[in-house]
Amino acid sequence: MALKKGSAGSLPAGDSDPMLPKLFRVEKRRRETQDTFTLVLKPAQGNEGFPFAPGQFNMLYAFGRGEAPISISGDPAQPQTLVHTIRAVGAVTQAICGGDRGEVVGVRGPFGTPWPVAAAKEADVVFVAGGLGLAPLRPAIYQVLAQRDDYGNVELIYGARTPQDMLYRRELERWRGRFDMRVHVTVDAAPPGWRANVGVVTNIIPRTRFDPAHTVALICGPGIMMRFTAQEFLNRGVKAENIFVSMERHMKCGVRHCGRCQLGPTFVCQDGPVYSYAYIKEWFERREI
């Protein structure tokens, strides 16, 4: 457009533009699985913390490649660093995961709805994670463990394809050693030497201890896994409004403008990613929605 006349001056710059990222540097990179890495990021300038609520996500930008929505997987009590666990499957995530120490990454966020950690107080809490789904749940696990006395029984069920596909294996061992939390890991198939379960997460639910009337179930993983897991909790008497899932959709902006992440009447970036199953069930179970 060749429009020159009538200028009202430049755009409002800086913080008022939700599309402008803050710059962070990669401080540490740890390989979790074949294609998944955990990055510890620190602000490129200053020491400003990055407060967030468990379950929220950021848009991470790699120079010239673009942005991808990635959930925050660090400890909300330690906002000085920003931790993301990223599977390198696309151009953006491969660039971010392939960067050296000191590489600059753009960060916009935090966006989206959190896991209802505070609302779950007094209740039994069952975390169910599938594959990469442990990453968005980990901040919620940290928060529950930090205030362990406020909760009833705490159980974590974690399923993955194979033992090599599991995230945070050392941490899982540490959690397993705790007396105030039970950890059940399960894989689809295991080589000799695997000492935990083989089977699917839904099969572990009957072995966990919870009072269905006072239980909050937080589920994160691929769609099929969340659907059947939620169904299993419903079968066992947990109310749909106490079951929470984290949905995934393509998104470009993260701020409810681009329209890409629509899920029925909701925008995953704003109304999700964490939804109560009671609310999202109708849309979750509909095809091609």
Binding site: G159, A189, P191, R195, V198, G199, P222, M225
Partner: protein
Amino acid sequence: MEPMEAMEPILAEHPFFQGLEPGHLKLIAECATRVQFKANQYLCKEEQEAHQFYVILHGRVAVEIFSARRGPITIQTVGEGEVLGWLWFLQPYHWHVDARATEVTRAIALDVQCLLSKCEKNHELGYQLMKRYAHSLAVQFRVAKFQLADIYGT
């Protein structure tokens, strides 16, 4: 063999037998033996005759298929509150998998011939057991389908 009185309450508490009437529990208890396996001890091996149906009380059992190139592959684990034994009531009464305790495992072994003859005599008992067995099979089918669907993938 332990006294029957000790066996019935244990059976009654196990999820598989929940809701069975005392008369039926008593009949089942007559076929029951308490067994214990050390870690790495096999409960059964492929192609062995299936004389037992296991009710797991405590511990964990890996169900394995042996591959000449990959060695034993665990396809399922069975633990507390579950049962082990495929189609024990059908000929040819053979196991078709290996089952190995991965930790100290306590179970009740039910003698298959004993159970079968009681079910033949008492069809109500047979029906009650068959209902539970059908449910257990349905759960295993569902698990197998989930595994096929690769539910932790994308």
